[in-house]
């Protein structure tokens, strides 16, 4: 793409991202929606987060990992355990990343 094309592509991306974020806040009146969908949408944000995280943990180049000696799995488990113990966001990030780095550089996984 030429710089000018990238510029216009970027403008479009910004418009789309903003429109999605503002979607239910734009109308002054409540949008009509069936009750089951209203209740089902309760699950959507959690699902979106889980859907972004999971492939990062168990896929390499689009393929499922085929060894248990993958530092990411143990890092994620350590993070989950830490969260269950302390419910601290900062601690979860540091503990998970720390375990991953220790396995990668300490054991050379």
């Amino acid at each position: 793409m030429s710089p000018l094309e990238i510029f216009f592509t970027t403008l479009g991306m910004a418009a789309i991202a903003l429109l999605c974020r503002a979607f239910f806040l734009l109308p002054d009146q409540e949008l009509p929606m069936p009750r089951w969908l209203r209740e089902g949408l309760r699950y959507a944000p959690t699902a979106a987060l889980a859907a972004v995280v999971a492939p990062e943990l168990v896929l390499t180049q689009g393929h499922l990992i085929d060894t248990w000696r993958d530092p990411r799995i143990f890092g994620a488990l350590a993070g989950l355990l830490f969260y269950a113990w302390r419910s601290s966001l900062f601690g979860t990030i540091v503990c998970g990343t720390g375990v991953m780095l220790a396995l990668r550089f300490g054991l050379g996984w």
Binding site: F7, T10, G12, R21, F24, A47, L49, R72, G79
Partner: protein, 250 residues
């Protein structure tokens, strides 16, 4: 009004906002996440630097799009010279989760003027959303929810832009082996944990995780959409099953 009086009134209202207790609380709550956001921003910035789109355009994109996952998804497409609509379609698929966010924010912000609602929308992100819903699981009368949101969002926006621009400028000096991206993933994992309120949300999250992995090969990052649909379908069924079970009791 002249420009200088505009600036003065903006400054006065910004200063007043910064002193409100909920704004400060929101800002404080965002601090523990800063390490994850910074790491992730740095990774996104490095990816943008390596895509070869140039410094100015990369910074422009970071500031006006302000959606890390959409930006990263667009990079290989732009580098490969894909048609514009493919990039936009991918942006749409990756950003659809924001629609769910705006749906949940509506009861908190619906009373504000539309221009403010749009301004708040621009600042929405995964981090703000999870922290906001942890702080306010339900709308309560009284507090200015938007103050908390803004405090949270301003810190997140600042940390994100600072780190992504650092990544764009430093570019190749940051080796991939540092595992910075993993800190970002851990941040999202921690946020996911904050959202697991009951057993059906927990199972829905597992359903979404499995669906996202199984459907990973789909184009346009559609796997995220498939995962959300699967989790919502599961959630609706679980709610109905629970209602039926409780209805059956004498």
């Amino acid at each position: 009004m002249s420009l200088s009086s505009h600036v003065a009134s903006f400054r006065a209202s910004a200063l007043a906002l910064a002193r409100r207790p909920l704004f400060l609380e929101g800002a404080r709550d965002a601090v523990p996440m800063a390490i994850g956001i910074a790491a992730w921003g740095l990774v996104a910035g490095v990816a943008m630097a390596k895509s070869g789109m140039g410094l100015a355009l990369a910074i422009f994109m970071s500031v006006i799009v302000y959606a890390g996952s959409a930006q990263i998804a667009s990079l290989p497409l732009i580098a490969a010279g894909a048609p514009m609509w493919v990039v936009w379609a991918t942006t749409l698929c990756v950003s659809l989760r924001f629609m769910a966010f705006s749906f949940h924010y509506r009861p908190f912000f619906a009373h504000l003027p539309r221009r403010q609602r749009i301004a708040l929308s621009f600042l929405m992100g995964d981090t703000n959303f999870a922290l906001f819903m942890r702080r306010f699981p339900e709308r309560v009368a009284g507090p200015r929810h938007e103050d908390f949101f803004l405090g949270n969002a301003v810190v997140t926006f600042g940390v994100w832009q600072l780190s992504i621009i650092t990544g764009i400028v430093a570019g190749h000096a940051i080796p991939a082996s540092w595992g910075l991206g993993f800190a970002g993933t851990m941040a999202l994992l921690a946020l996911t944990c904050t959202q697991l309120r009951d057993s059906s949300t927990r199972v829905a999250a597992v359903v979404a995780a499995c669906a996202a992995v199984a459907a990973y090969a789909l184009p346009l990052k559609l796997n995220i959409l498939v995962a959300i649909a699967a989790a919502v379908a599961f959630g609706v069924l679980a709610d109905h099953a629970r209602a039926a079970r409780e209805g059956a009791r004498p």
